[in-house]
Symmetry: D2
């Protein structure tokens, strides 16, 4: 556990960071993170943020760091969200037309960006020729009315269902969590007995996509030049291990320091490094 | 499929009926059912209704038939609900004190009947010394606020969670279903990684309990003298088969006539008889 | 943890014991256990052993204690095995004919005792009119040949499959486990997408059956007069809690003393008492 | 269903084929398939075979078609197996040393090709410093002895486990299936409560990898220029849909013509086209 993030980072040319629990928490960016990202960039390294979140556009998420830094420290395109993959899917496979969605209005960005028309599920009417149902966020709709409506819609119309975040929960304070849209999607899949098209870590597509962007910047980049830093074994570490890159578990978020060892052994998900935080 | 319920029933002394899809539907009691129950009783047979429902007291459910019959055709105690077992558990294991619940006020019957104090989860405060959380019904609370509250309550206090209905959905019309409290409970179990104490078919306790009551009426009764009639393979037929009594699948509810055969073969859940409805 | 089994036992009139990890281990009966059972009986208490095991008849299992005691300390009928319930199911529901089985010859006891003819799966031929397939034990057959044969048999003939032990593994030494027939059954269910009829703790039928026997001995017995003692949260404690009797977790088997607390909190399965062993 | 494969194929520049049930069956290559592949190539199209199989090298699989054609119709590198991804993972993440494996000797190709030393699990001894356990094939070892050995090895040493085929079963004749190594791996994961690193459709990595190879041949290739043809909804169609390419379900294998429609609707996995076979 006495490994220093900064020392380890010197061995890699590109760092992938998870966001929540690594770079920020419910209070905002961790003190020292903007400075660390600046130093990392100055040392010639490149970084990307990979996050399971489709609640708002990457640019809005980047603003958190850029406002503190006073300049564009984190360009929006360096943040790869599960919504980004959702958007890419809609563009490639659905292509055009209207899709119903569950989520806040800001989450509809991932639909309109793909050239489709976003209709809040509560406003979807029979005259709409819906191409898909997209689950983006746990807020912005009435759970009782709209989850029941969504289930019956899928039962009757056999629409493809696309899910922009596979997480079951997300933290809302140091003590409390909230059900994420991935948790609601899992319940709907169980009830319907069907398979949704879900995007988010640990799925390898998140890493494939980001690695592709890193290779665009540096065509000679190899997988062994990349380090994934995350706070969650079952998403960050499992997915990046499978994609074939080195991994660092930090203990500043989901994984409690006194339980890390037991969790690594019992899950069989082994990070290359374990470290207190990215500020070491 | 050309078996007649009435002919088969002659071979048994006690009939267990599922309720929804067998004796009633979303419009109320099926035409002819009160008459059939009356004839059954007159022929010296006894019957019980076994239903996954903890939304209101058995007496309220019995009123549906009694109002049509004009006399107490179905005494409340002949209806065994999943709430009944829930209530028995609370009396035996929790015994006294306050428990928080999710459900309509009428569902709290199953808590107060056990001698405990029922507190709607939304009104539970830190000064309450809660002994358990009881999930009884999908209505009567705010899903977003109260499901998140319930999850955090269990994470912090490690309360036992008791579930009064294992069904994932229930029908609300000929076309539509709604998520039942069992579906919400399943989502919470997945998120928390923990085991709730769940009551309802196909669990054998529903059948053990009812068989015990039938034996009280007729001490020489054997399992082979009892027939379970239901419309759902995975609850009514699976559970009664395992309990060791004969089973009849009726096609007046959940199981569509043209799919019954495929579903029986692919599930491996084989009823003793298949029949159109209890009115044959 | 400073609770003494013996002191707690004074408050109950009947004790249900799990076998492995509680009364015995891979070396045989724990030193002092026959003496404890003798004292328990002399104090006027009654006991039953409830075990997930269908590999041989209860009488064979009882011999372990009776040989040490020098008299019939544990009558075979005081041992309720998952095989016992399997046998009862075969008698009530299958009633007669030939059934194929997987397991050692001694496990076939549970088939022949029910009045049926047991055919080892490897010897089942087309001329056999099989009524069911029964999985009793992980030994006594060729896994590769016979598991594949079993899967194809069920796919073609849609036989009901009965499983005499729900455990995934069992201990074979202080260090090692072996896959139990319940683990093989689970794999077959996943592959076939179907539901087997499985017997064993935590299913409440194990407790219902044993409680029924205890009531036969003492008709005024109430659930709160019974204590279940086991070493495994997910079988012994979960099942007995749900059945509505008090529970004691002992730390002499599956549950390691230093992890008991974390496991209780994370599983939500809370025993009434925790205690080092039945020898305290 | 009256769509012709050949007509649809004209709209795409690259075709991805599943192998079993599409190009071949238990008797060998389907009559007419070598000819179709030849015509496809002559028309300027490129194809790849994507198969869940790590039992032997791609070159051995290609020989089936090349022998009939009399020339190298299918170069080995055009066959992407789940073993290929397994091999890539071992090279990137494990890098060197000894790994134990379950499978036929021919399956060890995927280990040695990555520059590692393959030790059959049955021969692994304490002096071996194993880096991983790799499950490649369901044959070539003693299920009873070696599956139990594998489970205890992982319990004691916390080795990463890599699985070269996610399928639960594979067909061995027109009537029968056999448990695939993916089915055995799933049982081990359930028993150990841990996560293995599994390769195979529907995982998007199979498609990402193959698409990368196709782009190497034709740098201007877009996803919408590629068609995936498969016989299984839950692997071929689900995975390719998610990856964002068009899909064709053929009814010459796993999916029976009279059930295709029901399966598509109940699973929610919708192919772009449905067609009798690749010979239409």
């Amino acid at each position: 556990m006495d490994v220093s993030f900064w020392k380890v980072a010197q061995r890699y040319s590109v760092i992938f960071f998870d966001s929540y629990g690594v770079l920020k928490n419910s209070q905002g960016a961790l003190d020292g993170v903007p400075d660390m990202l600046k130093r990392l960039t100055e040392s010639g390294r490149r970084f990307f943020v990979i996050t399971n979140d489709a609640s708002r556009p990457p640019e809005d998420m980047a603003a958190l760091y850029n406002k503190i830094a006073g300049f564009e420290l984190v360009p929006g395109w360096r943040i790869v969200t599960s919504g980004t993959l959702c958007s890419e899917f809609l563009r490639e496979k659905v292509r055009s037309g209207e899709v119903a969605y569950l989520g806040k209005p800001s989450s509809a960005h991932y639909i309109t960006q793909a050239g489709l028309t976003a209709v809040p599920l509560a406003e979807a009417r029979d005259h709409h020729d819906l191409k898909a149902l997209v689950l983006l966020d746990d807020e912005g709709f009435d759970w009782f009315a709209d989850l029941n409506r969504a289930i019956n819609l899928v039962r009757h119309k056999h629409l493809p269902v696309v899910v922009g975040n596979t997480d079951l929960t997300y933290p809302v304070s140091t003590q409390n969590v909230a059900v994420a849209v991935g948790g609601l999607a899992r319940m709907m899949e169980t009830i319907l007995g069907s398979h949704f098209i879900c995007f988010g870590k640990p799925d390898a597509m998140m890493f494939t996509h980001t690695f592709g962007m890193a290779v665009s910047e540096n065509p000679t980049l190899r997988r062994r030049d990349v380090l994934m830093v995350g706070d969650t074994l079952h998403t960050d570490i499992l997915g990046a291990n499978k994609f074939g890159i080195d991994t660092m578990l930090v203990l500043s978020g989901n994984t409690q320091p006194d339980r890390a060892d037991v969790m690594i052994r019992s899950s069989g998900i082994v990070p290359t490094y374990v470290c207190d935080s990215v500020l070491t």
